[in-house]
Symmetry: C2
Subunit: 144 residues, 2 copies
């Protein structure tokens, strides 16, 4: 007894707490990612622990997991510790894919930076008059 004062959230308040919209939360619920409680009148309510759960899901989502991958993860989680190997394998694959993307994106940034520098030097008249971007990159030893 006396598990009294647990803070609860309406869908609107919960949406603010996790940085989503109410429709998005209903969509996630539909996709099987969340299962809020219901008041007697049918309205949803969320607890503090749901905040952490959704924030964790959003972190996973932010590493590149799709809604359906998240759903698979959630299903496995509901099945208990027996599915830990599957969950671990999924997360490791997500991580591997993430790292590939991460490296690619850093290369993209490198090129973007080079181009910005090239424009800035061109504006301030530092580069050779008609030097193009390709030859500019070569001066720095970059490729592509």
């Amino acid at each position: 007894m006396a598990t009294a004062t647990e803070k609860i959230y309406s869908i609107g308040d919960f949406a603010k707490a996790v940085g989503l919209t109410a429709p998005t939360l209903r969509y996630y619920e539909n996709e099987g990612l969340i299962e809020p409680h219901r008041h007697a009148n049918g309205r949803r309510y969320y607890e503090e622990s749901d905040v952490n759960w959704v924030k964790f899901l959003l972190h996973l989502k932010g590493t590149g997991m799709s809604i359906s991958e998240l759903k698979q993860y959630v299903v496995w989680r509901a099945e208990g510790d027996a599915t830990i190997p599957q969950r671990l394998e999924l997360l490791k694959q997500v991580k591997a894919d993430f790292l590939v993307q991460f490296n690619e994106v850093q290369h993209h940034l490198q090129i973007l930076n080079d181009k910005i520098n090239w424009y800035e030097e061109k504006e301030t008249g530092i580069t050779t008059d008609n030097e193009n971007f390709a030859s500019y990159l070569q001066r720095f030893g970059h490729h592509e």
Copy 2:
């Protein structure tokens, strides 16, 4: 004279050279990103310089630029040096947005790594029997 042996590409060969499909190249052309030459019979052909141009566009795209932002960039580029300030401002904004995302995504990776480690320790029985993920993270001083 004698700008002779310039290698040219059919759309299919060009697609392979830049890692896209022929339909995607036609789509990009429609969106105003590329403007290949045409043989007398109407068929497209691409030159070596187009390879570099498309690869550069793909780098910009990889930093988060949408097709319409790329188009804006291309339009300004076609207008000549007078639009360098606009192009520079666009690229700087793209970079700023990119860096925000980049930091967020690194935090997501941190959480993913923590979770993977947590599962691995749980599998090998290193963590306290029923320790949950939240308290596990606290042991490391992370939040969320």
